[in-house]
Symmetry: C2
Subunit: 122 residues, 2 copies
């Protein structure tokens, strides 16, 4: 069974608000970086791991499986020794391009600063 993929979407009610629906799909932990790096093209599992720094293999697998399950990411397995698995964006995933760029831009211009100022409040 593919309960691993479904996991967090079992007995799940889609939000009526489109803004929430979008955030539901791309807002998971680490999904932002993963999608952003996949804009470059196909990437292998460990390569994605390297680019996301502190993500454990377990989390990496989980987030990628969820992205695959909702239809934003494609997973291609090459039955070789050693194994080779490539991840890439589906058409729906590619349609995220402007959104991901805007998220990056706003992050650079506002988010990073807002988060850093939390340490020295008032």
């Amino acid at each position: 069974m593919d309960t691993t993929k479904r996991a967090r979407y079992d007995s799940y009610e889609a939000p009526a608000c489109p803004v929430e629906a979008s955030l539901e799909l791309i807002g998971g932990k680490g999904k932002g970086i993963l999608l952003y790096h996949l804009l470059e093209g196909k990437l292998r599992f460990n390569e994605l791991g390297r680019r996301t720094g502190g993500m454990t293999a377990r989390m990496l697998t989980k987030q990628l499986r969820e992205l695959e399950f909702v239809g934003l990411v494609r997973r291609d397995v090459y039955p070789e020794i050693p194994p080779k698995v490539e991840y890439s964006l589906t058409a729906a995933g590619v349609s995220l391009t402007p959104l991901l760029h805007l998220l990056k831009e706003w992050g650079e211009q506002h988010a990073i600063e807002l988060l850093n100022n939390l340490k020295t409040p008032q």
Copy 2:
């Protein structure tokens, strides 16, 4: 103390990736809808509650406090009987306008459909 506001930001390490930083700020449960409705202008607590449907008062308070704490939302209290509290966007909050509209657009065009197709897979 304002530990209530800080809560989820205590012992918190800001993400290096700007995309993740943005999602960290606006990706919380219900934050998307809240920010989106606040684009219209000042709104009172119960009015926000009505617009967000299934959100409990507790969650509403929590999310609004976090948005206030990071500097995206301003909270104005009018010491009256009965109490009156108005929420509005700060300058940083207003700077989210294009991002929120894009999130809504992508949600309408892709996210809603992707989420609905999860019920009838394969």
